[in-house]
Symmetry: C2
């Protein structure tokens, strides 16, 4: 298991333990994690803190060059908002845990030149399947349905 | 002047007075402002709180139906991240103060069925022109350049 995807999964599990939505993300630059995050809809009453957004926020204000050289790891295929943030900052590489339970804007990212790799990770799929089964309304809220 | 665009401009000016980037936004539902915001990159050291994101965050967790019926007012054409948030939540109408100093993802929004109206407001243009002249590096940071 990739150590950075494991860190994203750890973030997702932490979010679940907090009663939140189990999606985690880390932003990696020069082989170091510079931002960790997980979905905080429940914990902070937030409409914008998806896992990827939380990782970007926790990385703080970074020079443009850092984003361009960074890789974003996320346990779930990134939604339109998070994909837009990836495009805004010119992040060139995104590693996705799974896209079976939710397919985000991978096509738009690829079309825009982002290298998107999907790991089809069973742990990531199981986390989301269990969560969606337990809390379908919360999940729908998170994806605007 | 539309009262809601004026509220967005007031938010932008408040941000400028705080030493921040002068972009403001309000989210309107049933002819009421349910969220106000302005760019908080400087004020909160934030990489994600563009004006539109701040307005969405300050509106709090809303049912899907509210977003679908809401109109987002923003002083500046929305960047990829903010456009992605608009698409995530299915906001169907966006009123833009100006798109001369920065052209966001209006084409993507329109293609996705969003009604985008640009007011070409002189106050909005002047706020951004003055700001970009004073703080070009801060502006570039905000748009990932």
């Amino acid at each position: 298991m990739d150590v950075f995807m494991q860190a994203a999964i750890d973030e997702a599990q932490l979010g679940r333990e907090e009663g939140g939505i189990p999606i985690g993300s880390v932003l990696v630059h020069n082989n170091q994690i510079i931002g960790r995050g997980h979905n905080r809809r429940v914990q902070k009453g937030s409409a914008i803190l998806h896992g990827e957004m939380d990782a970007l926020e926790n990385a703080g204000r970074q020079p443009a060059g850092v984003y361009r050289e960074a890789t974003l790891y996320t346990t779930l295929s990134p939604c339109p908002m998070c994909s837009g943030a990836i495009l805004l900052y010119g992040i060139k590489r995104v590693i996705v845990g799974e896209n079976q339970t939710f397919m985000g804007e991978e096509a738009l990212l690829k079309k825009s030149g982002v290298d998107v790799q999907v790991l089809h990770n069973d742990n990531c799929v199981k986390m989301m399947r269990d969560f969606i089964q337990d809390s379908p309304e919360l999940w729908n809220e998170d994806i605007g349905v």
